[in-house]
Subunit: 354 residues, 4 copies
């Protein structure tokens, strides 16, 4: 089968990673690197065979050898660029967040459907071996029913002037939850709190308490003000508890074979009596290969372009992340009170995915 | 100086630890172990020279050699027992939480003042070398201004029928914050969320977002449903960030010599520009002795009884913890909205402490 | 059944731990604490009910209520004290190393046999839940055939003037190996190297390469000059590899489900071809209770005194440790060359143990 | 300045890493990928602009645009290939070990000197930020006098038929020691032990005890039979102890501010008295950038070709590693006895380096 021709738009922070992974893929060909700052594009393109640099999006979209475009520009440019590319008949891979607003994302999804093109979100973490493993573990029922999720992402990222920390970092956590949790545990409510202790004009420390389906809950802590890096997610189930520590390469995932059971009956006369019994068992750390997640993203894009399967992180996934972020804005504005959310699931789409 | 005679009331979960530490102290003498279940008391007392067992609180309070009473019974009995002991002229050390309600705690503080006796809370964690070190580091200004605190306490503790997880576990975190943070960062608001995914009839997974003075914030995550144990506290400051991992005995405290500075000025034309600069430096882990915190509690009680100093975890500290817990109940009942709090600080008391 | 009366001789570094564990045991009674420095003995004895202090060994040995004596004095005094106690009809628990020489240990074993008394070595580590688990794992064949052992013990211990670091620290490692390895992997040769870079007059950094039965090997690294503490043992087998990190309380033991197989046949023409295939599987960390090992030592002594079973760390185990240490002295004196060793296993004894 | 044209010979295990780092370097141009298996070479070359594939070494050496050749072929081919390249006027970067024997290495160094070309060893680890930091720490005297080194390298590498584990893995440790230790602590003796418990026909578990100058010592443990990966080096000094754990990316290096001092004088009458005093201080973990070491190797090669400086891991460094390996063979053959070593230091060379 022929390789898929891909152009990268945006040679800034994330673009070079896309460029390298496309160039080194065995199923994709890097055709263009496009950036308004031509020297940036040039420097990236010149290393790889068959790639050219340009500062013109039109030139990229006019090239019939370009089947897909990977967009790594600021969020506020996503809607316009993606729609142009889709209208030009190109498939689109887009950085998170998919757009600056739910309204924009809706438009993008509509155009993609109209043009029958792939609109895929680069939810990179979903393609790590860790998240792939977590998804499999949950789908197989190894954790039992999901009780709670706790995610901490204290990043080295920079304070932004145009978005708060929830918009900047929580898309990672929200896209992972979207990917690994079954639909019955979808987010149904958001309560968000935040603080700006340095007077940056944006919430810099943020907390989201997410009500999930079936009385379970998730919590996301994101934080710009701690150069100390923490990347952990704990997923508690009735059968087992999973701990993912992304900064521990020798043991990223630990599955505690320990369960919690609600004891039935019980002696009403005694106070302070436990209603719950615990089972204390071993801890298992699966062997995970150490691969670059972005290579998996490119493989998924190629598979989508070739019609082999719908991308697992599609436009609808990107839209749901935005719906939660917009609800968090409302909660922040109203003192942290819970805001009900009803996410967009498209039954037909989900079916296609599986 | 003569040793201080102490009786322990309550031989259940925590009592044996008090008994052992008092018996092995060089400045205290264990006189009585008192429990309604006499065999429990007897077994504890029989190991140590000079200690007797009883099931009668009156007998303990009648003994003139008993100068102080350590109470380790359920919270709802604290108010009555403490007031009886104080009225009998005994000093009192009491388990957390100090009482079942702010009203009860107020009464206990009033009686202690009236009788001029010590009312000390056994906020054990405050006497660990880790918390002592954290308090010193903050007082010396090593962290700079406090920006945020994040505390996670996922405990092996049991689901209770009469209190939720916030009342059960968060007193530890709240008492530590009370101990280490300067008064200008006192709690001024509480927003709490919680879930009960197993139908236990109580919130089993709880989150508290605490607004602190000077726009800083703290967050406390407590959880009964994860047999996986996590005990970490991150304290971020303008100069340095401190991470306390209580389950890592070889490196409990790490101080990241990394700061965050808000850049002044800045180019208005550019979007996505960072306003903040980071300084990336080394990590320092202080050498901490490994001592038993409860021995420090007993030393503090003895020092109080001897009039050397007011206990650093006094009744007022216990009261403030209760004030926050009651506010969390209100927030939970109102969908997680922030509840303003005004803690009881007694200027005169604070002065005495220092 | 009546409690076993025990006296402790030696109130220095280790004595207080013995005293506390005996006093708090439910099956033993602490009768005496004996030390030439009477105030030391007195301070220890005075805390516990029923215990007296003395500086006279005779007084201890004359007491008919003393059934067993725990000796925690310097190694060079062990032989004389143990033989006196055995001759007085007492059972003996003795600190490591069992004696200052193989000759002394032989005498002690002979007297114990003559008097039909228990002579037990306080190889404390063997009674930790970690070592108990390791022994069980190996006995069940979970590791397959043992291929190699690597033990590192970098201790906070002090430089001694009368013994080198191998004599001071390696007894821990050697007693553990003696406990967990099957007899077919017994030590058959010792090559030792050491250095004294600070001019202390003793080897301060020591390495022992132990040839074991069936072509397997063990290596022990002990070191006085590193205040950095490391306590790890790796045991590699054909089926699995076990890693014991004693300073990681949340995951002391990890069992890597990874095997090594020698491929049969193979293509002779190709150089650089692997003969071995690996199987990469998960890591399992067993749930271990956190108990005090010395309590298990006292239980074992009591069980021995009551005739329930022969102590698992008997005098013969202590003797074998000494035989290896004496061989290490010879190797050190001869430039590190391997010295053949033939350990004393007493078939009858072994039978009694099981 | 013009970029340096480089060809890579050998497209097997390590070659692709060289190819990628040369292609992405801003100062080097990848000209050729050469391998007897042309498709391997072709696949590597086709990704990058300006690179061609060939199976002819002559073609590479005839190309005047090739200034340097990077050789990543089996060790037994190094001597011949390197000498051909040097005679053709090319600079040479060569994989470890530099050659199959000290005799071969001597020849290579002689030809390089004759032709006045760079002969550089790809001792990759020396260009990690960790080893660079260790070298700086030691040179600044932060550790005080070096007392001991302990290095453990348990690798996922494969059992080889033509070399034992010491030849396969220990070159990493030996090249690091050569790089970071001052010349007064150079290796002066080698005692090696090894075992082959799986009957592979080669030593699979190896230990080297290295006597260093000034009574210090180093120990290297290498092991093919443990799929469990360990990569630690402990360097103890009189002032501080450094621990390098290469598998802990968040804290690769920890420097324990703890010292050991030999106490002068002392009371002769007392046995068991410590001669040494310890100072227990904090632990510092330096902030290290996370860069790819091989990029540093290519930079060093380019700097050498341009005449800016002599490569810090030159042919003489590679020769010294071989001298130690050959001594280890002799020690293994003679039961582990220490073999004296006198390493080749070339004063003139050293001067040039600094």
């Amino acid at each position: 089968m022929e390789n898929v021709g891909i152009a990268v738009i945006g040679a800034g922070y994330w673009g070079p990673n896309l460029v390298r992974n496309i160039a080194m893929s065995r199923t994709a060909d890097l055709r263009w690197v496009c950036d308004l700052q031509l020297p940036l594009a040039d420097r990236l393109a010149s290393t790889f065979a068959g790639a050219a640099a340009t500062d013109s999006v039109d030139r990229v979209l006019d090239d019939p050898e370009v089947q897909a475009v990977a967009i790594a520009t600021p969020a506020w440019t996503h809607c316009d660029l993606a729609i142009r590319a889709l209208r030009a008949g190109k498939h689109v891979l887009i950085e998170k967040p998919i757009a600056a607003s739910v309204g924009d994302a809706d438009k993008m999804l509509a155009v993609a459907a109209e043009e029958d093109r792939i609109l895929m979100c680069d939810h990179t973490y979903c393609y790590t071996t860790a998240v792939q493993h977590i998804a499999a573990v949950i789908e197989q029922g190894d954790l039992g029913d999901i009780l709670f999720v706790d995610s901490v992402r204290i990043n080295l990222g920079l304070v932004q002037t145009d978005v708060n920390v929830l918009w900047d970092l929580a898309p990672h956590d929200l896209s992972i939850l979207d990917y690994v949790l079954p639909e019955e545990h979808a987010v149904v409510g958001v309560a968000a709190t935040g603080s700006d202790p340095i007077g940056a004009g944006q919430v810099c420390v943020g907390h989201m308490s997410l009500a999930l389906g079936q009385s379970s809950s998730a919590h996301v802590h994101v934080n710009w003000l701690s150069p100390t890096k923490v990347r952990t997610m704990i997923i508690g189930g009735t059968k087992r508890t999973l701990v993912w520590d992304d900064l521990n390469p020798t043991q990223r995932i630990s599955i505690f074979d320990r369960g919690v059971d609600l004891a039935l009956g019980g002696d009403e006369e005694l106070r302070h009596r436990s209603q719950v019994s615990y089972r204390i068992g071993d801890v298992v750390s699966p062997a995970l290969r150490d691969t670059e997640a972005l290579a998996g993203v490119i493989d998924e894009l190629v598979a989508g372009v070739r019609g082999e399967r719908r991308p697992r992180t599609d436009g609808a996934a990107g839209l749901r992340v935005l719906q939660i972020l917009e609800a968090s804005d409302q909660s922040l504005a109203r003192g942290g009170v819970n805001i009900d959310v009803s996410l967009s699931y498209d039954a037909a789409d989900k079916e296609l995915v599986k």
